[in-house]
């Protein structure tokens, strides 16, 4: 039942996030004529979707919700005075952390898949087509990169006490990471730039002219991201094991 407890804790953000993402994608599709007609540079429907969903509003909502989903955990329960009840359950602390991480990441995956469902279904209502394969490809990229954002905040939430402290520390840390990408030696390793991997910008698998995923997806970096995120969760679990409540 630990998974159910974790689901109860994350469901508002998960379901609300999925709904918000679906509404955002739906509105982006619905207003495509008005936005494209007034754009400074004429663009195709596929380019408009990439710029609006995968390089702007949708991505921003997704990344921020990944961070929020990672913000819970035993330390936050301690602040609310419910940690004692959770720790008295007949389960190890490792199991509690594990199931919280799994259910939170399930929320990340649900968020990542939402555009892949909404965009291909909504586009025909505007007499447009958005390929399912493209939407699924971006969902995979989001799920892989989102794991790192989620895992990093998850670790912070198990290290830093105080409500919202993990979120307030995670966002600037990730922005600082973004600033580091401007350094010359980092530019030589483009796959280290998660902000570009997540939407394909400047990546060999993304055609900037067509705004389509054309090459094979970066399976190795995506796998490495999942391993890194698992490492964050493992570190959070170890931290909780030694913690005196």
């Amino acid at each position: 039942m630990l998974w159910y407890k974790a689901w109860r804790e994350t469901r508002i953000v998960t379901l609300g996030g999925v709904a918000a993402m679906a509404i955002a994608c739906g509105m982006i599709v619905w207003f495509e004529h008005a936005m494209r007609d007034n754009a400074e540079v004429p663009m195709s429907y596929v380019a408009y979707i990439w710029k609006s969903v995968y390089n702007s509003i949708g991505r921003d909502i997704f990344l921020f919700l990944c961070v929020i989903l990672g913000g819970g955990g035993l330390l936050q329960e301690r602040a609310q005075g419910t940690a004692g009840f959770t720790l008295s359950l007949p389960a190890s602390r490792g199991q509690i952390v594990f199931w919280r991480a799994v259910m939170g990441y399930a929320g990340v995956v649900a968020l990542a898949l939402t555009p892949a469902v909404v965009l291909p279904l909504a586009s025909p209502y505007r007499n447009e087509i958005y390929p399912v394969s493209q939407a699924l490809g971006f969902s995979l990229l989001w799920a892989g990169c989102g794991a790192v954002f989620y895992g990093f905040t998850f670790l912070l939430a198990h290290v830093l006490e105080g409500e919202y402290t993990a979120i307030l520390a995670a966002i600037p840390s990730l922005m600082f990471y973004g600033v580091l990408q401007g350094l010359p030696w980092m530019e030589r390793l483009p796959m280290l730039n998660i902000f570009h991997v997540v939407n394909g910008e400047d990546m060999p698998y993304f055609n900037e002219g067509l705004h389509l995923l054309t090459g094979p997806l970066p399976w190795l970096p995506l796998g490495a991201m999942l391993v890194l995120a698992s490492g964050f969760v493992f570190a959070a679990g170890r931290r909780m094991r030694l913690r005196d409540f």
Binding site: I12, V13, G16, I167, P172
Partner: protein
């Protein structure tokens, strides 16, 4: 003492936000020699130090952090007291719910104002250390813009925190509404009203900053200033009304 209660509840977030904004200002200023070439290379409009500071601080990532801080500062209140089991103590105080809400909102406005004060003064001083010049008169006009724009963001999450019982849910909702509002402000039918709060805070509403030099033109956006302030006050008023009638 209600001020003090509200301060105790929000001081960690506030002090952390102060440290973050100050840290970002100092980082962009003191590391200017390393960061400027990359930013100038990628951004055609950045051609001098003032444009670089505007791109990174007044109209860039630091402004984003201020808005995030405002979103976080707006959270809390009676719903959080309820989830922590301390609601009974708060409601037992010999004060009305209206006073509880208004004192918290007032402190929030003060905190946003203090956060807005940091960049102009810090950057003017730190620029001298790297042999650059940023006149204080350039940064000062941003203070009202950041304060009012930040207050709107604060009021949004303040209202969400009153309505949504889950704290993280309130934060998520506030952020999503904020993003939706920014997107809606870009819609061609609404674009002429200049409702984009981030543009307003950056001084990018029409006729404020010269788009070529990024210097002040001398015209100050008083109408949007009062408009955004009114929007923030309305949200606080709605939050007060909801709290008064809430069955807690």
């Amino acid at each position: 003492m209600l001020w003090y209660k509200a301060w105790r509840e929000s001081r960690v977030r506030f002090l952390l936000s102060m440290a973050l904004i100050a840290g970002m200002c100092l980082m962009y200023c003191l590391l200017e020699s390393r960061l400027y070439p990359g930013i100038a290379h990628e951004t055609p409009r950045v051609r001098n130090y003032i444009q670089y500071i505007h791109w990174t601080v007044f109209g860039g990532a630091t402004r984003g952090i201020l808005q995030l801080s405002c979103l976080l500062l707006g959270l809390g209140g009676l719903q959080r007291d309820r989830s922590q089991g301390t609601l009974g103590y708060t409601l037992a105080l010999p004060v009305s719910r209206t006073m509880l809400v208004l004192k918290r909102a007032g402190l929030g406005l003060g905190q946003v104002f203090v956060l807005s004060l940091l960049p102009p003064f810090l950057l003017t001083g730190a620029s001298l250390l790297v042999h650059q010049q940023l006149p204080l008169s350039y940064g000062l006009p941003f203070i009202p813009l950041w304060t009012i724009g930040g207050f709107v963001t604060f009021a949004l999450s303040f209202l969400c925190s009153v309505v949504i019982p889950s704290e993280y849910g309130a934060l998520a909702l506030a952020y999503v509404i904020y993003i939706f509002a920014l997107a809606a402000a870009r819609h061609p039918r609404l674009a002429e009203y200049h409702l984009h709060v981030a543009d307003f805070m950056s001084g990018n509403a029409p006729h404020q900053l010269d788009p070529h030099t990024t210097l002040w033109t001398g015209m100050y956006p008083l109408t949007p200033l009062f408009g955004f302030m009114a929007a923030g006050l309305v949200m606080v008023a709605v939050a007060t009304m909801v709290t008064r009638r809430q069955d807690l």
